[in-house]
Assembly symmetry: D2
Homo-oligomer: 318 residues x 4
Amino acid sequence: MIERVKVAVIGVGNNVSALVQGIALHCATGRLVGVRRPVLDGLGVGDIDFVAAFALSPEKVGKDLTEAIFVPPNNFPRLTSELPLSGVTVRRGLTGATEVERVAGELAGAEVVLYAAPSGRQETAQAYAEAALRAGAAFINITSDAVARDPQLLDRFVAAGLPLLGDDLTSQFGTSVVHHALLRLLEERGLTLISSYQVNLGGTEDFRNLVENSNTKMQSKLNALTADESAAGRVELAPLGYLPHLESHKVAHINIEAQAWGGTSVSLDLKLKVHDPSGGAGVTIDLIRIAANALRQRRAGYPAEAAPLLKSPPGTSV
Amino acid sequence: MIERVKVAVIGVGNNVSALVQGIALHCATGRLVGVRRPVLDGLGVGDIDFVAAFALSPEKVGKDLTEAIFVPPNNFPRLTSELPLSGVTVRRGLTGATEVERVAGELAGAEVVLYAAPSGRQETAQAYAEAALRAGAAFINITSDAVARDPQLLDRFVAAGLPLLGDDLTSQFGTSVVHHALLRLLEERGLTLISSYQVNLGGTEDFRNLVENSNTKMQSKLNALTADESAAGRVELAPLGYLPHLESHKVAHINIEAQAWGGTSVSLDLKLKVHDPSGGAGVTIDLIRIAANALRQRRAGYPAEAAPLLKSPPGTSV
Amino acid sequence: MIERVKVAVIGVGNNVSALVQGIALHCATGRLVGVRRPVLDGLGVGDIDFVAAFALSPEKVGKDLTEAIFVPPNNFPRLTSELPLSGVTVRRGLTGATEVERVAGELAGAEVVLYAAPSGRQETAQAYAEAALRAGAAFINITSDAVARDPQLLDRFVAAGLPLLGDDLTSQFGTSVVHHALLRLLEERGLTLISSYQVNLGGTEDFRNLVENSNTKMQSKLNALTADESAAGRVELAPLGYLPHLESHKVAHINIEAQAWGGTSVSLDLKLKVHDPSGGAGVTIDLIRIAANALRQRRAGYPAEAAPLLKSPPGTSV
Amino acid sequence: MIERVKVAVIGVGNNVSALVQGIALHCATGRLVGVRRPVLDGLGVGDIDFVAAFALSPEKVGKDLTEAIFVPPNNFPRLTSELPLSGVTVRRGLTGATEVERVAGELAGAEVVLYAAPSGRQETAQAYAEAALRAGAAFINITSDAVARDPQLLDRFVAAGLPLLGDDLTSQFGTSVVHHALLRLLEERGLTLISSYQVNLGGTEDFRNLVENSNTKMQSKLNALTADESAAGRVELAPLGYLPHLESHKVAHINIEAQAWGGTSVSLDLKLKVHDPSGGAGVTIDLIRIAANALRQRRAGYPAEAAPLLKSPPGTSV
């Protein structure tokens, strides 16, 4: 029988809430929903144990992980009324380089360290990677901070025989995925794109951060959409809208105007509504299992099979 | 320089209106929109001459082709205010087997016979195929009547060294194409389909015929949608709605309800509005060029490259 | 302190499920949602006791009312996990005129008889009205069968000093209400309506009945929409779509195409999704209180204040 | 026979383009679309002559009015291919107080001065009002700058026996009008509003200005929406999105989430697409006729019948 994966989480936000609850729900009901790979190299969705958790918010530190995930500003909904305590008490996160040693000690026993803190604190992200290195664990960075695409860090993980996965999670089924699929379909069928827009609205703390730092994000979104087609310059993004009432939902409005044979018009309007953090957890569950398998099979560095799940793998610009 | 293709059309409905006008517009402006393949084996979109046309409606017979295409119930819009006369006078179509000889004589000189009459008159369709055989022309059947998938007819075209293309046109960018692409995307990304529906509304005479004979059509639509996925039984089609105000537009409303990680909900709503006959003409323009090339290269029977453009190619059930 | 209203229900379908559960939920939580009038002439939403219930389905007869409301084909969702038994056992409904006496006896003690069986059985509806007459109770007919608009029946209620309310419930917030409001707004603002359509989809047993008997219903819907404006002939209804996956939801797609100043286009697209039976219960709760007040104040016949809540009040054609 | 109204326009943007073209189209075709009042106190839509026009852009100055309305950044479409020259040459607008006298002289003969320059230049707006005063003309301010609601200016128009209309045009059929109507309907029918949002997208230069100065505008929009209902705090506005591809279109996405009886959910999603400047012209045509009638009937000051057409009439805060 396969040994369960021991995972430490850094950051106790909506993404981790979705991950922890989704695994618990699967274990309780046996149901498998929203999962790309029920079993990945022998590891099932339920074969995961959380062994440590770190957060900065004083309201989260000291609580059991399954309680801390409901502390505001977290607003991912409670998926089940019965969520047993995890037995893992949230510890105080790292606030400076001097604490790497302390954290490395507290990571002892973890096979995989999942870095899921808010984006935008690169030094902190790298400090946790350092701690994982010292603790002999694989490291996954799902934020957009540069960790796996920092060549020196990657070299050190390779030298230590440890896997390093990152950076920045692709969404399982978000606006870009759908918009891109429709633009590609249009092209395949020989229609001529006239114009297209995308409106993104959300209500989580993560989305609020995104809104405040949206310039680079928006451009990268546009690039992703129009990379492989003649669509460049024909797709526009409306400014991101932080609407607290949406809570953990994300809503997108997509419009595509095109021309078919004879120049006649084709209009497509789409509304997509998802639970923002669920898409992330649905991808993270695969990354954790890839990391654990790589570690156990002693495959060091960046595992190629993680590529479709990450936006900025090693080799992309920082 | 390439020789222009000589085409005879059977039926002067909205599809032929879109085809004739789109070619004229392209020739006048040089613009290429809604075209999958600008040049196909040497043949451009404008390299087509209409040399004969047949219709049953007394209001169409005797008129120039470019006038007959605007006779009601045709309601495809006028794409350009300047459409020169074609010089082709619409002749009286075939009403019984005894007229095959007459029509075969009138098809003399045509390389490709395009059968675009209303669906549902299989004997007539086969009589025209017979006439094309005698006239030594390639035959394209874009209706759902069984012509190319009638093994005996296909054998006779093979024996005569003539191409036979059909049956039933795929749409260039219709509801099924978009709905299917989204369901497939959902599956690829690991989401669990809960339910989905599709509403189809249209305002052409063809659409009205469809509404009145919708049972088999609906089932075949459903089959196409759910063939390659676990979606069977989860997709529902609302009854087709003939709404005259839509004129030559077709409107679809698609809804998809799914579950992502943790069972959280994903909702997608889409409205698609197209000019119904344009999609058909955008595919027919490729079939005509494939047929002409096959004839000139003496490739008899069903040309494999036509397969992606047809719903019921030879070998499918009648 | 006000005396609670004693209500008997005929029919134990989705509408009654919504009514019973909504009252219980209000009593348990004190919350007031979706209610037009928290207190109506002294009667609150919670001042209602169910004292008898009748149904035809053998699966419902003999069960407690709060259990029978969940028996299929009922599919209105369970609003609360804690719904105490009502103490009312569902009795066998009337199947012929000979049973009027029996039912009248079983209605003893009821102040208000709510007739909420499936539409389309006028004789049965009138037999229950007869039983209510004999039992000395007010009668409410929320179906489209002619009861209150039968002049002879109304005369007999007047003679007996009893209120009679009906026929056919208006919806609280349905497609017609919204569509009509938008068409009226358009007219008020001076826009010119070009065309409009409405698609209605539903998943309840009541909706299925409607689909099968939709001809008259559709025409009456159209009349209601276009009565007071120049819209006649510009609004089209797509055929009703029974989609079981929708369960107790009703979905409508509305499109309005208009012209503003200079003939420029105005397009409006709307999707409305509601729980079908909730709208009915939100209106029924007012009718019950109007009926009880009228009875207690000895106002016989049709109480004028019920008019905005009914589609076919006395005086309309049968 | 009624005497035609002599109108001078200040600013030659999209609004004036829509106005000029719409009147010409009506005169040429006799058609009346998007007009609230075909005849207003004897004045028809076509009873208007433009006698002077002022602009700042060097590309517009010196051109005939019917040519200047198509100079970029104007992007309102050409409504008719045949638009006769107006005979009015666009003059150089006022750039400082010293030019009031010059402009007053050039306004000689105008009965109504329509101020339709970009919002945000209050001194300029008031200088034009001054020039109109000296020229003995009625003045209409459709911008949000304070003119009619400046008590001193209003007093001077009253003293001079001249009408003064303003400030800030209501839209004929815009997002706020529709959103407000739906929220009011919801309340009337007893539903409980849970949350609502509005997304506004546009492509005109005016819209771009709005985006850059959106803070106050957004708050005033919110106030207007939620003034008369318990909706305050439940309606959110996404940031305005300037999308050049939309050209002169304005697009809004509105969502309303509510609860009906029993707390069941009601969802309404709406997309509205209009030609931005058309709505303005459809209201301006009424203001011009009100102003002319007031002038001719020697009614000085603010004519009460203009109130429903203006957002900030005299008495509202500056």
